[in-house]
């Protein structure tokens, strides 16, 4: 076993780990007060001493957490593994410092421009990581989780959510790509370090105890987000894209994550909704004369998509597995090509062909014009913020549908089909009906999202619905964690946000993106936020998790 050597190491020096961690943390904190670079024009000026900003502050926070974990290591609660947290934090810190060094070297033209603070930080980071690897392997006992008053628990949730909002707003407002990059690493270190040490599971537990408050808090955070943007539409436009993408991915998650059917043409459902909305809009290029109110259009779009879902799903009666995947891929391509062709030249004039339907006007709900800037409490909210709120409502609806279906007779039927279709059938599960239902529901939700997307985007064209988009949707589902809501939200966010923020390296953007997909799958094949069940499935039997699962179930049963 590869770990045996580190085990020996830990056995020999394990006692020193806390001190090493504290020393490392102290150095990291100290480094924040020192100058990191000679050049004052880069990375928001980190050449000043005793006046930490940006990167230096991140370093100090990393140090603080390291010290905290070190202390915990000395007096370890039975439900925590600070050593694991330190490993994550330490490694991330090292990457963080090296990344900064790289940025300095690149932007200022050479490593010589790095100042003492950086090297102090590097030493601290290495020590923190070393502490992680020195600390002994421990067994986490989740039964020892502290039981708190439920009000306190809710308070914790609220605080965590507030932190989340703050971090989110802060992150998105970082302009400098390099700073964004190292900040991300620092966040991974801080959050990963804390969660990895056992807090993650514990927070999950608290969250599980307080589902409702958690959901409410999460939505509140999402709702407040536009108010942190101060009228700027830049991030809000990305946010709307993320929401549309996430809503669609959640629909796909029903098909793939729950029912276990691989769908490679899913983007077509989004497209169906979008095209329906576009064709029925008042755009000069719209091809359908009838202009019902938008709510009706939404329903028509979603239903049309659902009908397509039924059609695309119907071969599942006979075709299964990867053959089904290619059937869906085929349908997806047929959809795109049909949209591409139906311009009167080839087939009837419906979609305006490759040029698409541009100039789709903004929505107006009861006199509320989504295209206008509205002010609430003095904070201007632009066009994209307006759509953001609408999409938030949509996402809430999608999540509701997803979770309620998942946790029902139907959801169980889907999982059974995913596990063993023949056996499910032999146990009286209406497999065909359920598979079709998965397609229809998923398509309905995607179609719904599509109708709004058409207006947010102001145009639809066939090249928005290429196979690669379906692949990305699938990636969001798999990357985030199949069958989970949170996972898909995270996956969708990463997949949409990263390419935007990677603009710094514009030409290398896609290259790095591709690489990232590979690396993420390499290290977390079960997805970032795997459902507990899935995690068991993939990481073979892990006593800890099993216990966790049981503890949670017991909790639920009460």
């Amino acid at each position: 076993m590869s770990s045996s050597r580190t085990e020996n190491l830990a056995a020999a020096h394990g006692g020193k780990a806390p001190m090493v961690a504290i020393a490392g943390g102290a150095l990291l904190m100290l480094s924040g007060l020192l100058s990191w670079s000679y050049d004052d024009r880069i990375l928001d000026d980190i050449s000043v001493r005793f006046f930490p900003i940006g990167i230096q502050i991140y370093s100090m926070v990393l140090g603080l957490v390291a010290v905290g974990l070190g202390v915990l290591l000395m007096r370890r609660p039975a439900w925590m593994d600070p050593g694991k947290g330190l490993r994550i934090l330490g490694m991330a810190s090292v990457v963080f410092v090296l990344g900064t060094l790289l940025a300095i070297a690149k932007q200022a033209g050479g490593i010589v421009n790095a100042n003492e603070g950086l090297y102090v930080a590097l030493a601290g980071a290495v020590l923190a990581a070393a502490a992680g690897y020195l600390s002994p392997e421990v067994h986490i006992d989740v039964r020892k989780w502290p039981r708190l008053n439920s009000n306190v628990e809710i308070l914790i949730i609220v605080v965590l959510m507030a932190l989340l909002l703050f971090t989110l707003a802060y992150t998105l407002n970082i302009e400098d790509g390099a700073v964004f990059g190292v900040f991300l690493v620092a966040v991974i270190g801080i959050v990963g370090g804390l969660l990895g040490s056992g807090l993650g599971a514990y927070f999950g537990f608290i969250g599980g105890n307080n589902r409702r408050p958690l959901m409410l808090a999460a939505f509140l955070v999402a709702f407040l987000f536009p108010f942190t943007q101060n009228g700027s539409d830049e991030n809000m436009s990305i946010a709307t894209q993320i929401l549309v993408f996430a809503a669609t991915a959640l629909g796909l998650n029903i098909v793939v994550g729950l029912a276990g059917l691989l769908d490679l043409g899913y983007i077509a459902f989004l497209g169906t909704g979008a095209y329906v909305a576009a064709m029925m809009s008042t755009s000069a290029f719209a091809t359908i004369g009838w202009k019902p109110p938008f709510l009706v259009v939404m329903l028509i779009g979603a239903c049309t998509a659902a009908v397509f879902g039924l059609i695309i799903g119907s071969p599942t009666l006979r075709v299964s597995g990867d053959y089904l995947a290619i059937v869906t891929l085929g349908f997806g391509e047929i959809f795109r090509l049909a949209m591409f062709n139906l311009d009167g030249n080839n087939g009837p004039d419906l979609t305006n062909g490759p040029n698409g339907i541009p100039a789709i006007p903004d929505l107006v709900f009861f006199g509320f014009d989504f295209g206008e800037v509205h002010s609430i409490a003095g904070i201007p909210l632009g066009r994209f913020s307006n759509y953001y709120f609408l999409l938030l409502a949509l996402i809430a609806f999608v999540i509701l549908v997803f979770t309620r279906l998942n946790d029902s007779r139907i959801g169980r039927g889907w999982v059974a089909i995913r596990e063993d279709e023949r056996a499910a059938e032999a146990m009286g599960v209406n497999t065909f009906g359920l598979k079709i239902l998965a397609f229809a529901v998923g398509a309905f939700l995607a179609g719904l999202a599509g109708t709004i997307k058409a207006h947010v985007d102001t145009s639809v064209s066939p090249d928005q619905y290429i196979f690669l988009e379906s692949a990305f949707l699938l990636a969001a589902v798999v990357l985030g964690g199949m069958g989970t809501v949170l996972g898909v939200l995270v996956g969708a966010t990463i997949l949409k946000l990263l390419p935007e923020k990677l603009r710094e390296v514009n030409d290398y953007r896609l290259l790095m993106f591709g690489l990232l997909l590979v690396v993420m799958m390499r290290f977390r094949p079960e997805g970032l936020i795997a459902s507990k069940r899935r995690q068991l499935e993939f990481h073979e039997d892990d006593e800890e998790l099993n216990e966790l699962l049981q503890a949670e179930h017991l909790q639920e049963a009460k």
């Binding site: 200022a108 050479g110 010589v112 421009n113 539409d233 030249n345 541009p358 102001t458 145009s459 064209s461």
Partner: protein, 387 residues
Amino acid sequence: GCGSRSDDTEGTDTGSAENKVAKIGVIAPLSGDLAALGKGIQNSVDLAIRQANEAKTIPGWTLELAAEDDQATPDVGKNAATKLAADKDVVGVVGTLNSSVAQSVQPVLAAANIVQVSPANTNPALTQGADFATAPKRTYPTYFRTCTTDSVQGPFAARYLFETAGIKEVATVHDKKTYGQGLVEAFSAEYTKLGGKIVAAETINPDDDKYDAVISKIKPSNPKTVYYGGEYPQAGPFSQQMKAAGLNVPLMGGDGIYSGEFIKLAGATAEGDLATSVGAPTDTLESAKDFIAAYEAAGFAEPYEAYGAYAFDAANAIIQALKVSLASADSAEAARQATVDAMSKVSFDGVTGAVAFDEFGDTTSRVLTVYGVKGGKWEAVNTAEFK
């Protein structure tokens, strides 16, 4: 050993600090197969901006370039426009290259009151609406262009083929995009009116790279020329494959195939292929001498290509309008509407000739040129004013 302690104070003192910034955007394909044309546009606008800043054309203001890639796709173009519209400093945009992209960009920029001048969009509907032939109606008050349209280019090519080259039977092929389809329609109408015969009319999907089946389908109708509506990334291979399949007739296209890249892709058999393009050849124009010299002096990596001069003129048209609109404005955003208003009054002698816009935003010039491939290069065959 790499790098040095950075004490070289470069770039800190361009322009006096009190100067306000206004940006001119560019939306063009900066990557992908059409990047050759797109880069030419970007560089030429860049040149115009540099010259204006040097000459302090607009006192108190520094102009900056904000170039966005549209990858020649409507969707990406629209996103680029959204991004530029969200940037409060942007007052005008030069672009797009493709008419199809323009269709998606127009409404976004129009909603933000940003003036858009295209150096290359030739589809007539962009300025005169879908019924341009019968009931022209201006669609977006913010949209202008410095090149002439396909309602001139198509007939121009038709007349050349029928009258000058004496070809009476033609097959048409287009790529279904706004530009290609519009061009072929304009061409066909004039050509049949003249008495020529369209023996086959096909379309292709621009994502394809093999056209055997279409070529085989056209071949038995024995066209004497194939008229192609579309762009060189497809037209080049199409020409090559046509001839490899034994259809040994010239291919003719519009400005979309007038690029050195076409010849590279079509290979040796491109000899004799024809193209029309807007205006007179840049290098023969007296008025373009300075532009060409300045362009070369600026040291751009890519040539100015077919639309460099038009883009230069487009940028200068915007700058002319900005002279008026920025004079009294305290922010770039506030000057957007004024810029649009000033635009219709712009009139000056540009690189490509007199620059001025009619009531639709179209250029007043109607000069076109027929080019032919000779010895592996495009050579002007005939320049004329269309009447």
